[in-house]
């Protein structure tokens, strides 16, 4: 039975990773989760300099999900390399580093840094964070800027590039195509949905940032549709994410057109979810007599 898949030139032993921002830098979960059984680990977004992040409250529970507006708190590229890379480079599974910037040049500079580091599995370009004033979603919702960021990073590195797409566009197909044409090796679909919640007792927003991003099972069907649409527009692989809680959810993403999946919010409440998803995909393949997980990708039968 084959569970391995390709993300550009990167081969991962199974199609399951974790969503950036829900797994820290992996070391935090090392005592709870057998990290070496994952397809890959994906770390929280890094820009060139350290980032303090947004004021609190930063998250709020919502029905079947949660809102967050963390503001990409992080140690910056040098801090990450010093503090977390020694642990990550020894892991048996590849590390996907999620990167961002406030200018096209900064994205490229961070990409160059991690290219020079050696041993990085892939870079994921975060062009879709809804919670920061500059950078993030401004690049993922403008076709021209998106193409510029991807092209600049493409020039800066030979590492596989994954573009993490914003869901907040009228149609994802042209954006998916733009990322592919600019040299992206894969797409990650999707990021959180812009959202808001209010405490009716205090009349205050539940987040200090007022608005945030909705994640968790609440967004799953919307993510499935985006992946299905994008898969018809591009040839490059898609890493699907958005509310995956179990293998059935993950298989749905694969059938919609994803080559791999990422578990996100579920890590916060059930840290074993990624490993349960891997085991469940294997069981499904045995039951359906599927020898290669890649056969599941895009196998939805729409009758069209």
């Amino acid at each position: 039975m084959n569970l391995s898949v390709q993300i550009g030139k990167l081969t991962i032993q199974n199609p399951v990773t974790v969503a950036s921002g829900t797994f820290g830098y992996a070391v935090e979960y090392s005592r709870l989760v057998h990290l070496s059984q994952l397809g890959a680990v994906t770390v929280k977004g890094i820009r060139l300099n350290p980032v303090r992040g947004n004021p609190t409250p930063r998250t709020a529970e919502a029905a079947s999900g949660m809102l967050n507006a963390i503001g990409l708190q992080g140690p910056g590229a040098d801090g990450f390399i010093k503090k977390y890379w020694p642990f990550l480079k020894e892991l048996k599974v590849p590390t996907i580093i999620n990167i961002w910037g406030t200018t096209v040049e900064e994205y490229a500079e961070v990409a160059r840094r991690f290219d020079a580091l050696g041993g990085v599995g892939a870079l994921e370009l975060n062009v879709s964070c809804p919670n920061i004033k500059e950078g993030g979603a401004q690049f993922g919702t403008d076709l021209k800027l998106l193409a510029q960021v991807v092209a600049a990073c493409r020039k800066a590195t030979t590492l596989p590039l994954i573009t993490k797409m914003s869901p907040n566009v009228v149609s994802i197909a042209p954006f998916a195509k733009a990322a592919e044409d600019a040299g992206s090796d894969a797409l990650a679909i999707t990021n959180s949905y812009p959202a808001m919640a209010i405490d009716i007792e205090t009349r205050k927003p539940k987040l200090a940032n007022i608005t945030g991003g909705l994640t968790g099972p609440a967004i799953k069907p919307i993510a499935i549709k985006l992946i299905w649409e994008a898969a018809q527009a591009v040839k490059i692989p898609i890493i699907g994410m958005g509310g995956i809680q179990n293998a059935d959810d993950a298989i749905e993403f694969l059938m919609a057109g994803a080559t791999a999946v990422a578990v996100g919010t579920a890590n916060f409440y059930e840290p074993q979810t990624p490993l349960q998803v891997i085991a469940g995909i294997r069981e499904f393949m045995e039951r359906k007599k599927i020898s290669d997980v890649r056969e599941i990708t895009g196998s939805v039968q729409t009758g069209r």
Binding site: G21, T22, F23, G24, E28, Y29, R31, L32, K44, R52, G53, T56, P57, R58, T59, E61, A63, S64, G65, M66, N68, I70, Q73, G216, P217, T265, A266, N267, F268, Y269, E270, P271, Q272
Partner: protein, 264 residues
């Protein structure tokens, strides 16, 4: 830090909206240090997915217990669970209180409401008995007074409505105690757990009298293990400040390092 399925031994009403939950957790129980917490998934909740953090109250054999107040749908669902049912727990978590050394400082504990439960293990494991100041709105908010008395601690109660103990805020008898024994101040240390305004007041007293204080901060939490960065508070660093995690660097912080002006 372990993730375990734990069984409910008992889950009984204490006073009013407060419950005592005892969980059988053979691997977790021996690891628990004073001031640490457990992150619990209340399984019957259908659309509320996140775990709930609870300070650990007592440890006995292969069990640990929690004293909680029903404040929302998570704790309400928890209060309906019965002995024999199971929960998922990740514990013990967080950086707890520093247990004083023998012949070290005399601990002065300051607790607001069920914050007292989070300090029981500290009182039990401290080599020197001290004083615990506990405050609440009314009589039913004063919990585990008996347990502290049984340890031989001096328990000083205040209630805002005067229905039990001295009428007023918990910081009043604390101030009186510290003020009347200024010569012995070098041998005292404050430990506090309770609502943020109380912690801030204790931090101010610690600063005014130059007494060390460890404060257990109560912040909204999500993952509990340090990845989501929900529960951060502003903490002074060498040349400025940064957001640190209540679940990992805390919940217990040295009061001198907390940047109250930036905190809510």
């Amino acid at each position: 830090m372990l993730e375990q399925t734990v069984q409910i031994v008992s889950n009984e009403r204490d006073t009013d909206f407060y419950f005592r939950l005892v969980l059988r957790a053979p691997q977790i129980a021996p690891l628990i240090q004073p001031g640490q917490f457990a992150h619990i998934r209340v399984t019957p909740l259908k659309d509320a997915l996140l775990r709930r953090p609870f300070s650990i109250f007592q440890v006995a054999g292969d069990t640990f217990s929690i004293l909680y107040k029903t404040v929302g749908k998570g704790t309400e669902a928890l209060s309906r669970m019965r002995a024999g049912e199971e929960l998922s727990a990740i514990a013990p978590l967080g950086h707890g209180f520093t247990v004083p050394e023998s012949c070290g400082e005399i601990p002065l504990l300051v607790a607001g409401g069920y914050g007292m439960a989070a300090m029981f293990l500290l009182a039990q494991r401290a080599p020197q008995k001290g004083i615990v100041f506990v405050g609440g709105r009314k009589r039913v908010d004063i919990l585990c007074e008996k347990e502290f008395a049984a340890l031989g601690w001096d328990v000083r109660v205040t209630t805002e409505d005067g229905s039990h103990g001295e009428k007023g805020l918990v910081t009043q008898p604390l101030l009186a105690e510290i003020g009347s024994r200024k010569s012995e101040i070098g041998n005292r240390k404050l430990f506090a757990c309770g609502p943020t305004p109380m912690l801030k007041a204790v931090g101010k007293i610690a600063e005014d009298f130059n007494v060390p204080a460890e404060l257990s901060m109560d912040e909204h939490m999500c993952c509990g293990v340090g990845v989501c960065l929900t529960c951060v508070i502003p903490v002074k660093t060498g040349d400025g400040w940064e957001y640190q995690r209540t679940c990992t660097e805390g919940p217990v912080f040295d009061s001198r390092n907390i940047l109250w002006e930036t905190a809510k």
